[in-house]
């Protein structure tokens, strides 16, 4: 299943939730926020929302800034 994560094409094994994807990528779920097709996926829905073929995902965190 082809998706785009942070601007990069990526092949996923099969359907999974946002929560599952974040875990698979080794990202600390507490420090990140996720957008699916430009819409924020609230944290409480990460276990329910499914990533689908062709989705564009943004997974962001906080960095140093002014």
């Amino acid at each position: 299943m082809q998706v785009v994560i942070n601007g990069e094409p990526k092949e996923l094994d099969g359907p999974m939730t946002v929560e599952g994807l974040v875990r698979q990528l080794g990202i600390n779920p507490q420090f990140c926020a996720v957008e699916r097709n430009k819409m924020l996926v609230p944290r409480r829905q990460h276990g329910e929302v499914t990533v689908e073929a062709g989705d564009s995902l943004e997974i962001v965190t906080l960095v140093g800034g002014g």
């Binding site: 507490q30 420090f31 926020a33 943004e58 140093g64 002014g66």
Partner: protein, 269 residues
């Protein structure tokens, strides 16, 4: 003398200095400078997770979330839509961390990469949308008094005019415009907070901004990129306090000619 706190929407602050977390050579240096600056609010940016990260360190490992209120910015956004998306993402992270900064945003809608000056129209649009979504919007803008007034009318919690372009270190280039901004924004609303955001290069720039009557100063590069960041953090803390006290004390008027400080009578013959 105990100053009154700086009120930014629902946030009550004792320090009038807000510092950024960008550009430090190391996270340890950043942590030390934040502490020395005495700031209670620190700004951060929202960026894509690096999917391959050898070190696996996150800035949040170096920030005491019980001590600092985090102010997420929308830096790098060049239109209102992106700025609103980034603001929502920042809020989402801070809600997860249960940090008091979860209800506000430092809005930046930039016009171009060379100047990093704000795009006034996009800034107005994004302010309107974010206020509607319940954000307390601290908005980076130019020193144009009319734009500043419009942003306040749209519900911005604080208007934050640039002293000069971001990271330029030129200080407050047009104090007269800042004076007019202050007059307009505080008209009938003396506690409305106005913060100088961007352009500060040295401690005297901070003091000068505070002496104009600004309620606070937000800076990053001036500390992070100087030769001795920890010493500058201390200088900035002191300058902010000195400028504020000087403003509160009410300076003497400037005159063309001298006025003797010593008695003019009783001189020897």
């Amino acid at each position: 003398m105990v100053d009154k706190p700086l009120i930014l929407g629902t946030h009550k602050l004792n320090s009038r200095l807000i510092v950024g977390t960008g550009k430090y050579s190391t996270f340890d240096m950043m942590r030390d400078c934040l502490e020395i600056s005495g700031s209670e609010v620190i700004t951060v940016a929202v960026r894509r997770e690096r999917l391959i990260d050898a070190e696996g360190r996150n800035i949040l490992d170096y920030i005491d979330l019980n001590r600092y209120t985090i102010l997420p910015n929308t830096a790098g956004c060049f239109n209102a839509e992106d700025a609103v998306r980034v603001a929502r993402l920042g809020r989402e992270i801070l809600e997860g961390l249960d940090n008091p900064g979860k209800d506000w945003v430092k809005l930046e809608c930039l016009g171009d990469k060379k100047t990093l000056l704000p795009d006034p129209l996009a800034t107005l649009q994004a302010t309107e949308q974010l206020v509607k979504e319940g954000f307390q919007v601290l908005v980076y803008t130019t020193d144009d008094p009319i734009t500043a007034k419009r942003l306040k009318e749209l519900g911005a919690t604080s208007v934050m005019p640039a002293g000069s372009p971001i990271g330029s270190g030129q200080g407050v280039l047009n104090p007269n415009n800042i004076r007019i901004c202050l007059e307009y924004l505080k008209d009938g609303d003396p506690d409305y907070p106005v913060i100088i955001d961007a352009g500060v290069g040295s401690a005297s720039d901070v003091a000068a901004a505070m002496e104009l009557g600004c309620d606070g100063v937000l800076l990053n590069t001036a500390i992070a990129s100087c030769r001795e960041p920890k010493l500058m953090a201390l200088a900035m803390r002191d300058a902010c306090l000195a400028g504020r006290r000087s403003y509160l004390a009410g300076r003497i008027p400037k005159k063309l000619y001298a006025t003797a400080s010593s008695p003019e009578t009783g001189m020897i013959g």
